[in-house]
Symmetry: C2
Subunit: 389 residues, 2 copies
Amino acid sequence: MSATFVEKVCVIGAGSTKYGKLDDSISDISIQASVDAIGSAGIEPKEIKAGYISNVFGIADKQVHLGPVVMSNLGISERPSLTIESACGSGSISFREAYANVAAGFYDVVLVTGVEKVTHTGTDWTTTYFSYCSDFFYEGQSGASFPGLFASMARAYLTEFKATEEDFAMVAVKNHENGLLNPKAHLRKKISVDDVMNSAVVASPLKLYDCCPFSDGASSVIICSEKFAKDHGKDYIEVIGSGRGGSPAALQGREHLTTIPSTKIAAEAAYKMAGITPKDVDFAEVHDCFTIAEVIDTEDLGFFEKGKGVEAVREGQTKLNGSISINPSGGLKSKGHPIGATGVGQIVEVFDQLTGKAGERTVNDAKIGLTHNFGATGASCAVHLFKSV
Amino acid sequence: MSATFVEKVCVIGAGSTKYGKLDDSISDISIQASVDAIGSAGIEPKEIKAGYISNVFGIADKQVHLGPVVMSNLGISERPSLTIESACGSGSISFREAYANVAAGFYDVVLVTGVEKVTHTGTDWTTTYFSYCSDFFYEGQSGASFPGLFASMARAYLTEFKATEEDFAMVAVKNHENGLLNPKAHLRKKISVDDVMNSAVVASPLKLYDCCPFSDGASSVIICSEKFAKDHGKDYIEVIGSGRGGSPAALQGREHLTTIPSTKIAAEAAYKMAGITPKDVDFAEVHDCFTIAEVIDTEDLGFFEKGKGVEAVREGQTKLNGSISINPSGGLKSKGHPIGATGVGQIVEVFDQLTGKAGERTVNDAKIGLTHNFGATGASCAVHLFKSV
């Protein structure tokens, strides 16, 4: 069974707050990003027919039910809204729902805003509450928080393939290089492989600099039917592929620790819909919550053979304007990871790249960009493909 | 712009845990309701293409990112899932998203499961955290929790219209009468107007028995394309209308306190889609978080003129097998209000009513049922219409 795609779907605007430790409230940063995207799209708020918010821990800043708050502050309180949560994959999955509704013709213009505001709670709170995104019965309550779970994956990778901890470190180094060129990135700091190797061990073999930070931030995009974009003379990029998939919630249910099933399922669906192969992708924003994740992602997405992702990193293939630029924004590692916002922020980056707004970090001659964003250890995942027009 | 409705959408199965204080975990009760619905539909889990969970406070039982946990436990971890939150309206809004995806042909069979597990946290926790569903900047942080906000609406109603506190009390009495006939209801206890009037004042003019309880519970439905239902010889009910709407998030943004704009917008859209009027509706499950809410709902839904809802209650028009049966299940007031589950639970009741499974609380000769479910003070809302076939 395949959807009807009555409407081709486009992105006509994108906006974002800085990622990092922010002082404003979760409502305020949601509105700031939304207003930024609305301005970027050059539309009036009243043209927006629905609002899709993505957020996980609104409780941390005492505001859940964010949709009506955002819509009311935009002066369009009568419009429907909702919040979508799928752990760290919330943003892309919210985008997917908005996409489906526009593709089916339910709405012609939709606001998609992702947000998280947690840094004020402190590391104990975030580590504890984030662990509720794992399969808590099997993982969280046994003390397995995400650094530990990804460390298991990293250890398995080191065992199965010709890889070293230095290879993982090079992912962090690259992403920090890119993030340095991104004015909105959280960690704008050049680092070396030695810096990573000498940073505190969080969960062996992962060191502090293998891990993305906890960030606050909000990102927003405006999506619409191609008809709306054309009728209103908008600059736009087209959504050419959208895929979703799932994995066993707990790592213990997986056959292999060095691949994430949901990524493969989602990517296959997205490539098929777009009628392209991984070779056609010019750059990708992938879910690098830990350095090992980026390596596994680039293999599962079909950019490199299984076990060869580290070689590609070593050879610089994934650097900005390498054979395929991975995480030109700086990724979760350097740009930051405000979990509900992350997946939307990836699409903001793709929009900026494909519409000539990426400044110093521009991927040359890019026509097709991919976003890959998952929840927890990849229990939920969405992959999207975008094309410049 | 209207959607394409490539597929007519049906409900082929429904299941629910008991509502009340439950001992099992949030994951367990989610799975229990899901398995119940799958059994009711007579399908195999693998026939389900996606899972839509609705939940607000998974953190209370240390499990957010519930979708993959449910799907994994059903043996279909590869399927996409997500969680939708829109405060107390989460369930119906999750159903709406699933509906949109099936209507557009993205999936042919979808599981919709709503859940909440909060009673173990105690009243202080629930009252505090539930207030985060209001517009916290204007309401929650000023100490305005939901009983206080609905008390403002009740006071306004008493001032504007010919109504008494006893009229509101009769709503509670009626819903308890219905709930007594519902084996899964939380508060199965016959009460009198005097009981309500003599119960503790929570926020004047609302007394304890004007308020629905905090409940645990999970409810689940299986929705599918009409084609799937027919091809597989299923008993089903048809979704004939679906509407969404919004209201200013904070009460201070509303022109009137005795009407909820989102209800009117959502209902108008649903009636229009179905091509029917309020007179065609045989029974309705409406959002009676407080007795005043049911009165306002029945007016906003067009069953009675503004200000006349109390007259209808006085005359017994809304009783089981009155001129229009309101909340035959017992409603939030007696059946209970496990907030993420509530909107789905309403649809379970409609399914049971229209397929002859409602036992002693059967609405005679019912052909068309309506569900109305909102978040907070009605900042978000969804209305659905169902028809027996």
